[in-house]
Symmetry: C2
Subunit: 422 residues, 2 copies
């Protein structure tokens, strides 16, 4: 790694730590004022942002990008307005800092409070979508954390323009501009510095992007990571399911949006109800344009069903493709999910409450649902307001990661001269 | 690393994962029964344990160990009884699993609960003290986590004998013996496997030991770590402190036990009260046999005070030595602690409530106290029953790590057929 880059990254780190110390003590009115001022600035700079985005789009097209990749990169008036509105929503959410999480008085008179405080400095490494600059930056700001943003090089102009609006908001509110920093070089080694070379400055890293990025972060990071791996989600149609409800839930779980991590990838059907439940639901999936890859029992239901291989049970398609399999009851369903799933989100459809509770307790996933679509796996749908991602980790944060997951805590103890005996 | 060791460690990992799946679903009565049966077994095997310990002590003496090292290794009837009683205490604590941490009903009728679940498989790497085998093993068992224990080679016979009692307790309660495993080889590369080679099996590693171990774990671990670095704790005697209270708190914070991480290492005195406060308190420390290393202002108070160097402000003595310094008010005290401290535990002594609140908010440490000894930094004193250590991390767990910090959570969502619109 070059000395120059090292100096630059060290300086970013030192500035972030200094800004974090100020931000941690900043009243919520200041943090919210910065968010609201940034929203005003985003709208005012809309033309500038779209011009910057046009540069990124032209470069991406010249480099051969197309389809979904270009769509992720593209901004328009609606998307800029959505970013601005998102900042206002976050400004309106309850303050995650200074919450008394626990309070007790000990027999010796000590009064102990556990109080929420910021994590410190957060590094965000992301790809393509420029709106992450606003979304992630604002969640960190609201939760009192300084942030160092490292976006993809394909969105460099867009990210720079959006970052400038966040800085304008901070300055307008009288907060340090360094609360939200953006790595000002496209040197690819900067990511290596964030992961390995800035342990003195960074408290946590949040990767937002594809599997390649996430697994690099997991392998190389020397600071804690909040990340999600894949969402290989399941719907299990139990023998006692209402068939109409099961069809609606399966179709919605798979097809409402196929590209989100909460989309279902495998449907499990009880063998006892293949004719009554699996046949019409598989037919409805096929009719809706979804490719179905089934085991022999599912293939026998409809000639359009393809043969599934062992790999299919592990696959997160993120597309209009679904794997389907017959199982012999709830224990077999739980075992399949435990073996092939990614512990993200799974749903059971059944009218049998006892079976449902057995499934909810027995499936070890971040989110388990009864009679509801897996597509509810989303911080907004959980009433968390906004999220930075959905964690499949078990450590610190599991499931949707919103403001309340971006904090730590401290113990505040008030006494009257107590010393410890013995 | 050898193939044979790799196979052994892999097998430990697979067994732990299988046991964890059973343990996660085990009712608290089973977990508590295993703890109580292990306590019975520890008492019944007391002679066997002490004989094993005698082997370890003899080997350690032959290798030249002495003093504190031998004392940490030594067991006697009282210590075995303390281990057994500790298991009974943990059995009596509230169940950390299945707690409903949060509950809400969404406008669409979905009922969402956040429920505590085990972390999964915990690796504990520790040194010298054989009682950690019982203490850490039982905290993991109570919290529904399978554990792989790796104790120091100097305590191999003692640890094996204590581990056998925990296994006997598991078997008596009908739980898998593999819930508490003990690495059965003294091959030093086994630690490397735990840190780097078992990411598929381990959910978290907890190191218990000296700085060398902790920093190796931080550098090498590829799984999350709950660890504490040093406890460079401070007492700040503010100008408005009651001098008698300040003396009691300083003496207790420093000298009650000098070897624990919550012991104070530096005392800060307001310059305005050097004559009235610092002089008698420094004199009392010296009279009690404590070495005092001071800046020029403190040296001027008593000829017995040594000169402090810059290094002293960073040092965790864990001994009857204290650094002392004059500061100009609460902001200077906060700045000194922020620069030199380890964010563990700090106390202010003052009768001025506003200054106290400013200190409690402004000092970014796991535990901040007003008018109380730093030696209260202890899970038991916080009413947590038992702790596995005190974390100076900000991620997942901060401060004392008890049963409630050894869990994760999952979201359980109950619906009546809801699908997500749009």
């Amino acid at each position: 790694m070059s000395d120059e880059l090292g100096r630059l990254m060290n300086e970013l780190g030192q500035r972030a730590v200094a800004a974090a110390a100020v931000l941690a003590g900043a009243d919520r009115r200041l943090r919210d004022a910065a968010l609201l001022a940034a929203a005003v600035e985003l709208r005012a700079q809309s033309v500038v942002i779209l011009e910057a985005n046009a540069l990124d789009l032209r470069a991406a097209e010249a480099a051969g990008a197309a389809g979904a990749m270009l769509d992720r990169l593209r901004l328009d008036g609606v998307r800029v307005e959505a970013m601005a509105a998102g900042l206002e929503v976050i400004a309106g959410l309850p303050d995650p800092l200074g919450r008394i999480l626990e309070e007790k008085k000990r027999p010796n008179g000590l009064r102990i409070q556990r109080v929420s405080v910021p994590l410190g400095v957060i590094g965000i490494i992301y790809e393509s979508r420029p709106n992450v600059t606003a979304d992630a930056g604002s969640l960190c700001l609201k939760s009192g954390n300084a942030v160092i943003l490292r976006g993809g090089s394909e969105a460099v102009h867009s990210n720079r323009a959006i970052h400038a609006c966040l800085v304008a908001g901070l300055v307008a509110a009288g907060l340090p501009a360094d609360c939200v920093q953006w790595v000002p070089t496209q040197d690819r080694e900067a990511v290596g510095y964030l992961l390995k070379g800035m342990t003195d400055y960074l408290d946590v890293i949040v990767p937002r992007g594809g599997k390649g990025l996430i697994s690099r972060v997991r392998d190389e990071a020397r600071v804690p990571v909040i990340g999600h791996l894949d969402g290989n989600c399941h719907v299990y149609v139990h023998a006692a399911a209402d068939v109409n409800m099961a069809r609606e839930i399966v179709l919605n779980s798979k097809l409402r949006r196929t590209g989100i991590c909460g989309a279902a990838e495998t449907v499990l059907f009880d063998r006892a109800v293949l004719a009554t439940h699996a046949a019409p639901i598989v037919g409805a999936l096929l009719d809706a344009g979804c490719e179905v890859r089934g085991d022999e029992a599912i293939q026998a239901l409809d000639p359009r069903v393809q043969a599934a291989t062992e790999d299919d049970w592990y696959t997160e398609y993120l597309d209009a493709i679904v794997a389907a399999r017959a199982v012999d009851g709830v224990e077999a369903a739980i075992a399949h999910i435990g073996r092939y799933g990614s512990a993200h989100t799974e749903s059971i459809v059944t009218t049998d409450q006892a079976v449902a509770e057995h499934f909810l307790a027995g499936v070890d996933s971040a989110i388990v649902l009864h009679n509801a679509s897996t597509q509810f796996a989303d911080g907004g749908e959980f009433g968390m307001g906004a999220e930075i991602g959905i964690s499949t980790d078990r450590f610190h944060a599991r499931g949707p990661v919103g403001l309340e997951q971006l904090v730590s805590y401290k113990y505040v103890v008030r006494g009257e001269g107590q010393v410890r005996p013995r």
